[in-house]
């Protein structure tokens, strides 16, 4: 406000010269997130800071719209053959990458070959393993063949890692692709012009964009790690949009007329997992007892009001194939009974490992511990810095993993039940992705069947049963809440795109600085 006054005063001083109206400084927007993007190589990205920039720079063949329906992007149309393994994509013609390379069937093939090449070791390789081959039919037609009828094929193709990078640039820069401004080349509405790590990542409108062009000339991503600084920067107008709003600030910001808050129910859910190979958690009754002992409502409504919804199943409502199983009932008497039945009438001692990397992760653990104390379970809190927690997730044998109960955020990044359940709950000898060694034969069987089922109804029925098992019968986790993705913006900012995947993009956004 104050600054606008100053500008106004300067304009008066300048004698109403024209330059002042055009002084309307820059048609640009500053977006502050909690961290910088790690990489703009879609085949390597694993965090939402990177994902949301990638969506500004690249296009996929198909993508999700706001209602989680598939819509054409670089493919004009697509269909699957009767064998359910061959998918044909008819590609948009006349599209060029930002380096001038034409977009064609060959580019699509080159992309999937790149991410699937085991020697290159891209982080997202496992996501695309169902793909057997990519065949160029003609310049603008491509067939993608899966190894088996794959029920989650379209979600896989709408994943951020399925966006198409310039094959010429990928060839030229190899593993360095996407790690600096010069090495990032896509087809999207914006392009990177500069990237100073931890300072700013500047995108400029791609004026040759094949689709509807962006309204903003520049979008600046400026990481502000401190939550309090981020809020102050938004309130004082130094930045236009922020994410990762602390729950305590939400009510105040919602009342602020200068600020618009947007909440989108995301695909992310917060859970506490068990080390299912460790006593006493090898007994499903113990896990059930703990699930019954927690009053999610009282925790969530007070700790993070308006930020989350209590979980109603292992997957959030935005995920294809999810089953609505209702909130897990709070029943401390039943919890005590189950504990007694399992041979622990007086409870036991345990440790809850958590990390502040997750929003309110430490406070959640403390609140849960206080409620477990009510049924006789004495839970100690162990706050681990992210890297120290992460070392226990991945490739360890059960005896090498010291965790007991531990926090975990899960979001099926393809918004589909397959990716939301299969990697993290099907049996693994080492905890490569199933960090809690959950193992249930019937569940495994259902998941593998569902993966090869293309009929939506049959598929959903299989997933429904699988979710009942992992939620109630043989709990694989304590599901706490489904996350809202909360974005705070100056009231001058319009038409942000917030996706349930927890991403904010600006391809249609504009600023009205009146």
């Amino acid at each position: 406000m104050r600054r606008n006054l100053t500008v106004g005063a300067l304009c008066l001083a300048a004698g109403f010269s024209l330059s002042c109206t055009e002084e309307e400084p820059r048609n640009s927007l500053i977006f502050a997130s909690s961290a910088d993007a790690t990489t703009l190589d879609p085949h390597n990205t694993t965090d939402s800071q990177s994902d949301q920039v990638i969506w500004m720079l690249f296009n996929a063949l198909i993508r999700y719209d706001e209602n989680m329906q598939f819509v054409p992007d670089l493919a004009e149309s697509w269909s699957s053959a009767d064998d359910n393994v061959t998918w044909t994509f008819h590609l948009r013609s006349g599209v060029k990458f930002q380096d001038g390379t034409p977009f064609d069937a060959q580019a699509v093939k080159a992309n999937f070959d790149r991410v699937l090449d085991p020697d290159q070791g891209h982080n997202r390789r496992s996501l695309f393993l169902p793909i057997e081959s990519v065949d160029v039919v003609d310049e603008h037609t491509v067939n993608i063949v899966t190894e088996y009828p794959f029920g989650a094929f379209e979600p896989m193709m709408a994943h951020v890692s399925a966006v198409i990078v310039s094959p010429a640039a990928a060839e030229k820069f190899g593993k360095d692709f996407g790690y600096s401004a010069d090495t990032t080349v896509g087809t999207g509405p914006y392009k990177v012009v500069s990237w100073r790590k931890d300072l700013e990542l500047i995108l400029e409108r791609n004026d040759d964009y094949w689709g509807e062009k962006g309204k903003l000339e520049t979008v600046i991503y400026r990481p502000i790690p401190e939550a309090a600084s981020r809020i102050i920067a938004l309130e004082s107008g130094d930045v236009d949009v922020i994410t990762h709003v602390p729950p305590a600030d939400l009510p105040r910001l919602e009342e602020d007329p200068n600020i618009t808050m947007t909440k989108t129910l995301s695909i992310g859910a917060q859970q506490f997992r068990f080390h299912c190979k460790r006593k006493p958690y090898d007994d499903p009754r113990i896990r059930q007892a703990i699930a019954y002992a927690i009053d999610r409502r009282v925790i969530l409504e007070n700790l993070m009001p308006g930020m989350v919804e209590p979980s109603t199943g292992p997957l959030t409502p935005r995920i294809r194939g999810r089953a609505d199983l209702g909130e897990f009932p709070y029943d401390p008497d039943k919890a005590r009974a189950l504990l007694a039945e399992a041979g622990y009438p007086d409870g036991f001692e345990t440790t809850i490992s958590t990390t502040s990397r997750y929003n309110m992760g430490v406070e959640l653990a403390q609140a849960v511990a206080a409620q477990l104390a009510e049924v006789g379970i004495d839970a100690k809190i162990d706050v681990l810095e992210w890297g120290s927690l992460r070392q226990y997730w991945g490739g360890l044998l059960p005896e090498d993993c010291p965790l007991e109960i531990f926090i975990m955020g899960a979001g099926a990044s393809s918004a589909d039940a397959d990716w939301g359940l299969r990697p993290i709950f099907t049996t693994q000898e080492r905890n490569e992705n199933n960090y809690g060694y959950y193992s249930n034969a019937e569940f495994d069987d259902l998941i593998l069947k569902a993966m090869r089922e293309v009929d939506t109804e049959k598929r959903n029925a299989l997933y429904h049963r699988a979710q009942e098992i992992v939620y109630f019968e043989d709990p694989g986790a304590i599901w706490m809440y489904d996350n809202y993705h909360v974005v705070g913006a100056r009231a001058t900012v319009h038409d942000l795109t917030t996706s349930p995947l927890g991403l904010v993009t600006f391809e249609r956004a504009f600023i009205d600085r009146r």
Binding site: T45, K175, Y179, D198, A228, S229, D238, E385, S388, N433
Partner: protein, 297 residues
């Protein structure tokens, strides 16, 4: 000096490899397969024996090659150099401001030794140094950016953006410099030649500035030099609060991401600056006070 750096590099290297956690796991994200993680470990050379890794680091460092950041995939030295200007700006600015403020308060405190203004000056000078810097920075931001709207909150776009970080950082050292100035001044003011000057009827202001201060500055210089290293370390917290992409933040992030080459590079950089500044201070000390040149070696 070289030995100290060599020792530092070895200590840092050993500490780094005692840190639990694995950069490959951190970078692979939660959804990657095990073969990806394995591959990454091999690419990073993390499967080699420790002495070999240290030797590779050391021989590279001697040639001026500090390796490539695991997380950012850019040369470590390049990234450090790109960030040095921001960190040095606030560290130097902080040092200068702290020195001015510290010397002024220290002189005043000494002049009013054990009287009201002595206490006021010392409390004032020590107040900021007694407040955790991230908290001080946040309070300054609340007052000057949000309430008054005088200064921008975060970032480094214009010189004005540096004002709050510099004040925050200066606060950490001002107290110690002030304390040093005060006691050095008291020392000097008790000396015969100062008393003599006063007895000759020189104006108090002249006595203070011409005789006392000039001599009292010698120990102050050394403390300023010593504090510079701490100030540099203090940037770690200040840079986080004000979202300044400096070396301090780079280091913390490197530790949290287990970015081994980056930790080594930044730690060694900070240590080098520290050593260089200390050596420079020693030399300067010798210039200002010739007696020291002989006895100090």
């Amino acid at each position: 000096m070289f030995l100290a750096l060599l020792g530092t590099s070895l200590l840092v290297f050993l500490m780094i490899h005692m840190i639990p956690g694995d950069p490959a796991l951190l970078l692979a994200g939660l959804e990657a397969g095990p073969e990806v993680v394995e591959q990454m470990r091999r690419d990073l050379g993390l499967d080699r024996p420790l002495y070999e890794q240290y030797w590779n680091f050391l021989s590279g460092a001697l040639r001026g090659d500090f390796g490539t950041s695991i997380r950012m995939r850019i040369p470590v030295l390049e990234e450090i150099m790109a960030r040095v200007p921001y960190t040095l700006t606030i560290a130097l600015g902080g040092t200068i401001l702290a020195t001015i403020f510290g010397v002024v308060t220290g002189v005043i405190a000494a002049m009013y030794h054990n009287r009201f203004w002595d206490g006021v000056m010392m409390v004032m000078a020590l107040l900021a140094a007694s407040t955790p810097s991230y908290w001080l920075g946040l309070m300054l931001m609340l007052v000057f950016s949000l309430s008054l709207g005088w200064l921008p909150s975060i970032g480094i776009r214009t010189p004005v953006h540096y004002v709050l970080p510099i004040i925050t950082l200066a606060g950490q050292s001002a107290g110690i410099i002030s304390r040093m100035t005060r006691s050095a001044m008291l020392d000097v003011l008790g000396q015969d030649y100062v008393r003599a000057a006063r007895a000759r009827g020189m104006k108090e202001r002249v006595v203070i500035v011409r005789h006392a201060l000039q001599n009292a500055l010698i120990p102050v210089i050394s403390i300023v030099g010593l504090r510079f290293g701490n100030l540099l370390a203090g940037t770690v917290l200040v840079e986080s609060v004000f979202a300044i992409p400096g070396v301090g933040r780079l280091l913390v992030d490197a530790v949290l991401w287990r970015d081994y080459p980056m930790i080594q590079g930044t730690m060694l950089f900070v240590a080098s600056v520290f050593v260089v500044v200390n050596t420079a201070t020693d030399l300067l000390y010798g210039v200002v006070d010739p007696r020291i040149r002989v006895s100090r070696s």
